[in-house]
């Protein structure tokens, strides 16, 4: 309770860049293994998913601890999820496919797992674009329903992860469980608050 949340925000901002510098260092020192392009690509996708899960974890943590002012962190983590997803796509287009568009088009058309990645990215893009305060003001009541698309985005991202794998499902299963817990929390609170909320409104009218 004594920790100043404002200071922590700067730490969080700087911390979000650590995976990027880590990756750059691994690439520079040739530590990315036998298939460095794939390794780079996968690790960026992993970080996007991790930040997405962090973003989804903010609200439950806020509810449980009753800490205030965590919305800024939710925004920061969400933007990092978008940032790493963008790098993931840049690596796919530029580093792996050398911007050879016919090959890219064939690859996307013939790979259903990529469709889910594209869907997830389109949602992240939309949410990142409507993230600034002025956008929030302008969207008014619509902002919240729009940003609930993060649930669909994270689900699509996870399918994208699962669907490209041939063997080991341990790691995506770990993220799946986390995601189910975080979404389950929302379902629970939704059920819990519905009844009292309605009575509260009717009381207010009296």
């Amino acid at each position: 309770m004594l920790i100043k949340i404002d200071n922590l925000w700067w730490f969080a901002l700087a911390g979000g860049l650590i995976p990027l510098f880590w990756l750059i260092a691994d690439a520079a020192f040739d530590h990315l293994g036998a298939n460095p392009i794939q390794s780079l690509h996968i690790r960026l996708g992993d970080w996007s998913l991790r930040f997405l899960i962090l973003t989804l974890a903010v609200t439950p943590v806020q509810t449980v601890t009753q800490w205030r002012g965590m919305a800024e962190y939710r925004q920061l983590f969400g933007l990092y999820a978008f940032f790493y997803a963008s790098l993931h796509i840049v690596v796919y287009l530029l580093v792996d496919h050398a911007l050879i568009w016919p090959t890219i088009a064939t690859d996307i058309i013939e790979s259903p797992y990529i469709w889910f990645g594209v869907l997830a990215y389109m949602i992240l893009f939309l949410l990142a674009a409507t993230s600034p305060k002025w956008a929030k003001k302008r969207l008014g009541k619509n902002w919240k329903p729009l940003h609930r698309f993060i649930y669909i985005g994270s689900g699509a991202g996870l399918i994208h992860y699962f669907w490209q794998l041939k063997g080991n499902l341990v790691e995506p299963s770990f993220y799946l469980i986390l995601l189910l817990i975080l979404l389950g929390f929302r379902v629970l609170t939704c059920f819990k608050t519905r009844q009292p909320a309605q009575t509260a409104i009717s009381k207010g009218r009296q």
Binding site: G33, A34, I37, V95, A98, I100, T103, I109, S111, V170
Partner: protein, 318 residues
């Protein structure tokens, strides 16, 4: 973490390691003493060879293809018996026991039998085969294998007229293979198969080495199949049994996901995997910002193998 579980062996059953290591020299010496003279070189009494230089190239070896750096080939293997992680298999596979090794040839043959690998190799002409390898995961390598024609081996067993398919069984060694111990994912041991005409095609080889040396354990030592026009999972590692059959064998990946991994598994850019495209591939060793290779039908071996599939709908028989 490597957990070694070994069968208890009574002390008196264990051969002194020095005697074991030098057993062939010792036997030679004993025989030489008995014969009282020089002995003709006997293959079974020779240590398994681990180095080959300047071998003749196989018929379809691509001498002018630049092999993938061997360090990459040795550290990027799908060896699910050890790990689902390609880079972890390198160290885990070192536990595999490959000496002694025997190969069983059975089924629809006139002369079934179990052979010591050394005896078997003594009768075969080893050649170098520089082949492309295309994984179903859309990456590829060029590997200079050392091996011999599978057709030559099958000939020695005299296949019967009923032999229409060949089934290959990989080693079952749960004491060294963690995923066999855990019964993880696939049904073990790993089984693959070919049609008889595919098996006796001059491109099809059994490999014992690569890059001039014995095959590293993670790459399928001591004996592996190499079928260069098919996806890599057809090329079974650590083969212990070859059976000639009347009916098509039930193969491991095909059984696991029949809609994703067909029996034929011919490399074909026109037929995508249900979840991903097979049109292009990342060549290992190629740098950042370089283009992917356009995958070729039959992995570029169409001139040699296309006649095997004439009249077949390759979309149906994928």
């Amino acid at each position: 973490m490597i957990i070694k579980t070994q069968k208890e062996i009574a002390e008196n059953e264990i051969t002194d390691p020095w005697v074991f290591k030098n057993r062939r020299t010792l036997i030679k010496a004993m025989l030489a003493a008995l014969a009282g003279g020089t002995l003709p070189p006997s293959a079974s009494a020779d240590d398994r060879k681990t180095e080959w230089r300047n071998l003749q190239h196989g018929e379809f070896s691509a001498k002018d293809l630049m092999p993938t750096p061997d360090e990459l080939v040795k550290n990027y293997t799908n060896y699910y018996e050890f790990s689902f992680n390609k880079e972890d298999s390198t160290s885990l596979a070192q536990n595999l026991v490959i000496d002694p090794w025997s190969l069983e040839i059975s089924g629809e043959v006139e002369k079934p039998g179990v052979y010591h690998l050394e005896d078997l190799l003594a009768k075969q002409t080893l050649k170098e085969y520089v082949y492309r390898l295309r994984c179903v995961e859309a990456w590829s390598m060029v590997i200079p294998w050392i091996g011999f024609s599978l057709a030559d081996l099958l000939k020695t067993a005299k296949p019967l007229a009923g032999a229409k398919f060949v089934q290959f069984t990989a080693v079952h060694q749960p004491e060294t293979m963690p995923n066999q111990r855990k019964r993880a994912m696939l049904e073990w041991p790993y089984i693959e198969g070919l049609r008889i005409d595919e098996a006796v095609h001059p491109l099809t080889i059994l490999a014992v080495g690569m890059y001039g040396n014995a095959t590293p354990k993670q790459n399928g030592a001591p004996l592996r199949l190499v079928v260069p026009w098919k996806y890599g999972f057809k090329s079974v590692k650590a083969v212990v049994k070859i059976e000639l059959l009347k009916r098509p064998p039930i193969t491991t990946w095909n059984k696991f996901a029949p809609n994703e991994y067909g029996f034929y598994a011919n490399v074909n850019p026109q037929v995508p995997h249900p979840r991903w495209s097979q049109a292009s591939e990342r060549v290992l060793g190629s740098g950042f910002f370089t283009s992917r290779r356009q995958t070729e039908l039959f992995n570029g071996y169409g001139e040699q193998v296309a006649p095997l599939y004439s009249g077949m709908d390759l979309r149906h028989f994928f």
